[in-house]
Subunit: 336 residues, 2 copies
């Protein structure tokens, strides 16, 4: 283990989607670990659109800005190569909040590290029993308050969290409409994941497509996108509908702030619009996994993966998430 | 009773606040009543800002447009002068959904008519145990989810519903900040109604005033106003705050729709924004009155009235509500 550790570092706050000018790959030494820490060789790490909020100097967002010069954090799935913690043997597979790097230095006592028991299926467990699953479950149930028989709309339904929200809603007995970009993605949502209908925002006339897919209105909108799409959706909400705002990915790199023109429909239609944030639920992970775990085990819910090979290709994969290029969970694979 | 019945009629949809060109006073015959109906001499009727939504051709508001040529409806407090209903004797005082007129023809079986037992205090009962009170109570508790010790902000705090919301929040053990226009109103809110602080939007720098009055943020915003004020309030919301949208009075006569620029703070601060509409709770009136009635009886909650004498002066009083000219419940008095 005399080798080094490549890692991605934030050098400036990116302008729009120009990540390559702002985030660079560096060579560093292999991290040294303290007592009760682990050194983990990253096998995979996950890219999450929400992290875009870190890469701004805005101080009023839901994440404080990542200080310039910081290594970039992310969820990793890796193997313990050195352990100074009695609870973890070398060779164990863990998922944790680590670094976009070859290795992660991790402190299990910090509470954001979980052992992965099902090695054969490790990526499914990583994806469904982690933050994407927690966000989807809590958003849909506690903020979206979905009930069987209701009509649920999910934006970014081909994204990791959206894909789980859509499937959780199906498993709850809802009619589920997914919004995604492109004919292929929309067809996959129906054929592979069983959605009731899908809406291709790239085809245009989202309003007309919504009218057709949800003639009686939408009871719950699980929204990852915000922006103009939200404005188009608002008039299609049913009375007493709920909008669970999981993300506003269309607005993260906007310079000018704009609210939905149809904001007043929140009153007119007695809607409830609620923002929520995944890290608020991390401490409830085990509880939520007991509820969603059976769906993973009986095959009702599965994740699709969008894999990019090689640490050096991270930013290409990251940018794809903001242009709708990915389907499912975007992951970087570090081993051959 | 051979006399006639003057009534206000909607002849066109008003442009902005030009009500006089659109709504006119007519002379009609005394209404004839059917079996199980009442003829009520209006003693008072109430003007409610929310009715502005009726007077538009917009079909997606929370009230269908009032058809042109219709007599204008409103809450009346009156005395039964003719009864063909076994439950109501002539001379009884009732509050009901009647007409802006000398007389109202009412059908108790329609479910929006209540007998007033406390004649001496009839206006307080009319105001607190009716729609304003129901709106304030349900909005504050079920949408605003206030808890003792929290900081509650109420806009249009000198309006009928706002004044009750502020007092209900005080009675619940909250710190209550009221927004109103002008020094006199702001002083009354504190001196007469016991509010913790008040904010004079006419003084300007509402942002600075909010910073001073709520340095730790606002847990619940009971909003009757919407528009730019809401945009100024959003950055002052505390994490996990709730915004109960009771009305959007600043936007009702706007031609262009604009949403709050700070909409994304709903996500960043994990806020819940909920619209609600008083008539949805009318059937729960008795239940709510059992909860708020004790506050009326023990004097913890009271209404202020803004009285205009004479049916013919109705529109003057109505317009005052949109320019912040009133304090408390705006009522038209029909008797000397």
């Amino acid at each position: 283990m005399a080798e080094g550790n490549r890692y991605w570092r934030l050098d400036s706050y990116p302008d729009g989607q120009d990540f390559a000018s702002a985030i660079h790959l560096y060579d560093g030494p292999l991290p040294e670990i303290d007592e009760r820490e682990l050194l983990v060789k990253n096998l995979w790490f996950s890219l999450d659109a929400g992290t875009r909020m870190w890469f701004t100097s805005r101080t009023d967002s839901y994440m404080p800005p990542l200080p310039l010069g910081s290594p970039i954090m992310g969820f990793v799935l890796g193997r313990v190569v050195q352990s100074r913690h009695p609870g973890f043997a070398e060779g164990a597979v863990v998922r944790a909040y680590g670094q976009w790097a070859d290795y992660s230095r991790l402190a299990p006592d910090a509470g954001n590290l979980w052992q992965v028991a099902h090695i054969a299926d490790m990526r499914q467990h990583f994806a469904i029993l982690g933050p994407n699953g927690w966000t989807a479950y809590v958003g849909l149930n506690e903020y979206g308050r979905v009930r069987p028989g209701e009509t649920v709309l999910v934006s970014a339904a081909a994204g990791a969290t959206g894909l789980l929200a859509a499937q959780f809603a199906l498993a709850t007995g809802c009619r589920v409409i997914g919004i995604a970009g492109g004919e292929t993605k929309c067809a996959r949502l129906i054929k592979e994941f069983g959605l009731t209908a899908s809406i291709d925002y790239k085809r245009g006339d989202v309003d007309g497509q919504l009218k057709q897919a949800a003639p009686d209105g939408i009871d719950c909108y699980f929204d990852c996108v915000g922006g103009t799409l939200l404005d188009i959706v608002l008039p299609h909400m049913a009375m007493n509908g709920r909008i669970a705002i999981c993300g506003l990915i269309s607005t993260y790199d906007q310079k000018e702030r704009v609210g939905p023109k149809n904001f007043d429909l929140i009153l007119m239609k007695r809607l409830t619009v609620a923002g929520f944030f995944s890290p608020d639920f991390y401490h409830r992970g085990e509880e939520i996994n007991r509820l969603t775990g059976p769906w993973l085990e009986n095959g009702r819910v599965k994740m699709a993966f969008d894999v990019t090979q090689g640490l050096e290709n991270t930013l290409v994969a990251y940018a794809k998430m903001f242009t709708g290029g990915n389907f499912g969970k975007t992951m970087v694979k570090l081993t051959e």
